[in-house]
Symmetry: C2
Subunit: 338 residues, 2 copies
């Protein structure tokens, strides 16, 4: 299948291209698109060097899969153009996620939504927010086994979630250099933690927190009646988001049954010891979502605590997008590495 | 009053000595005590250099205030000796915190327990865990105004909470050097987050988490019926613990009334804008507990979310201990800086 990547030179775009190289369904000549600024940047694909070019509407002619990781404004402009040209647009921005006509897909959870889409007819599929994906992956088997009543999340999010310029700025600060002007982070990022990701949201939270709340409800099909809170914190980690989650279930939480439900869910790696856990530094580069520190809330028969870690650029972005592409290309979803 | 500091050369001990210098009630010749290893290390007090000496039981003769920050084993050995010699022992370890005969004191909350103690008769007072103190400071005014039903905490704790050797090891790792042998952290600390502080606890959590649960209940006088959960995470920050807290109240949570209750409580600095917050890097070195990001849980009329930050070595340890000493010395508690 003919593939275009919009935002190919970004942190997520580069990972999309690397993952695409392994896809047997991928045409050998992907079209690498981006801003004027990144035009001419060359990226490797299956041993060949391919230049990125500045995107224009005609670039999507003949494209069957268009992987977008170029922000919401670019997605709003080029998404409908690419879809009208017959491409499946898999968009990693927030532009279309809450559109009732656009599926918001984590393949292991609701990949079935794509079966109805059929092959080759074109349209827009939304890739969820990075933190939301990993929380949804841990939540879904508990929803199936016990029903969820509430999900309360504190995220500890890697700097790479804010893009290459944020990584550069963080490293400058770590080296004792002054912040760039205008500042990229609201407060110093080096050796600090910042509970503000995204702009202010309508509900008194920050936008990242509002995304977790509304996207988790949509993915789980629980738009109306799932209680969700989120405090999203940027931490000085390069890659890999962590989340401390308290799940309140609809039925009594049996720890063994919960562990079994999580173990049986594809794409999850569940710690074998309840005190064991993954850390972002150690699991970055892998595609799995890691669940550890699973324990009961001793004061609440229906509540569980867990520690959930995944690579925000892979399962949180590029890997999830390529899994969607796999389904659209007609194959079975590729399992996460373990 | 004659003062001894056990563990004077440690991170907390040094801050105790610096704060002591401002106390009008403090005798000009504090006795600096510690291990054999730290014997001979000289510290400044009011412009004079005083050597630390290896502790022995007779060092507490004539001492009226004994500030301990030397771990639980040293506290168990020397606490009863110092108290028997007539000193008030203010112990920063976990050794006596849950002893029903020992007051566990945050002066702004339950300093009244010390009034009954009287002056000069000697005994042991426990200084709570660093994370617990700042969470209790935010919880106490909400308990008074609304009654608390549940407190759910995720901490993001600074490396200095694990002591000087942990700081040294973290910096070694930041510089790309291999971990020390045996490793001081369970996993790499540099550019990583570790949800394991302290050893395994009986309830399936780690010891730091168990401390927050049981000490918060004791400080608030709610040993039997306050639901508390905690996930404690070490983050690559030098000084200053942060906590994302969800408070479930007994009565409806009116945000204005909650803000007013917090503002009226001594030692707290409450952000003026609900989207505003403190960060550990910015408030380290101050004595206040900072409450920000105060908002309602939109799905739960009785629940509030907050972001609570304090310097773990000051209000979390040395400052709280010196406030206790102030009360025992007969003065009013010194207000936190704002």
């Amino acid at each position: 299948m003919k593939v275009a990547i919009l935002g190919a030179t970004g942190l997520v775009g580069r990972r999309m291209l690397a993952l695409l190289a392994d896809r047997p369904w991928a045409d050998p000549d992907p079209v690498l698109l981006g801003s004027e600024r990144s035009a001419g940047v060359r990226l490797d694909f299956r041993g060949r060097s391919i230049p990125s070019k500045a995107v224009s509407p005609e670039d999507f002619e003949g494209v069957e899969i268009a992987l977008f990781s170029a922000g919401a404004a670019a997605a709003r402009r080029f998404g409908p153009i690419a879809a009208a040209a017959g491409a499946w647009v898999i968009d990693n921005s927030s532009a279309f996620r809450m559109d009732p006509d656009v599926p918001l897909v984590v393949p292991e959870i609701n990949g079935g939504l794509l079966a109805a889409a059929g092959r080759g007819s074109g349209g827009i599929i939304a890739n969820p927010n990075c933190s939301t994906i990993q929380i949804a992956m841990a939540a879904a088997p508990l929803e199936l086994a016990f029903g969820l009543a509430e999900v309360h999340v504190t995220t500890l999010q890697a700097v790479s979630g804010a893009g290459q310029s944020a990584l550069d700025e963080w490293r400058r600060q770590e080296d004792g250099l002054p912040p760039c002007d205008p500042p990229l982070f609201a407060r110093p990022m080096a050796r600090n933690v910042l509970p503000c990701i995204g702009g202010p949201a309508a509900d008194g939270s920050f936008e990242e927190e509002a995304k977790v709340v509304r996207e988790l409800r949509k993915i789980l099909g629980r738009a109306g009646d799932l209680g969700v809170t989120c405090t999203a914190v940027r931490v000085p980690v390069q890659d890999g988001h962590s989340a401390a989650v308290r799940f309140v279930l609809q039925r009594d939480a049996d720890l063994e049954a919960a562990t079994a439900a999580l173990r049986g869910f594809p794409g999850l790696v569940v710690a074998s010891d309840p005190l064991d856990f993954a850390t972002p530094l150690e699991i970055a580069g892998g595609n799995a979502v890691h669940v550890g520190r699973l324990r009961r809330d001793p004061d609440h028969r229906r509540a569980l605590l867990a520690w959930v870690v995944a690579d925000n650029l892979l399962k949180g972005a590029a890997w999830n997008a390529l899994q969607i592409a796999d389904l659209l290309a007609g194959g079975a979803a590729t399992g996460a590495d373990r």
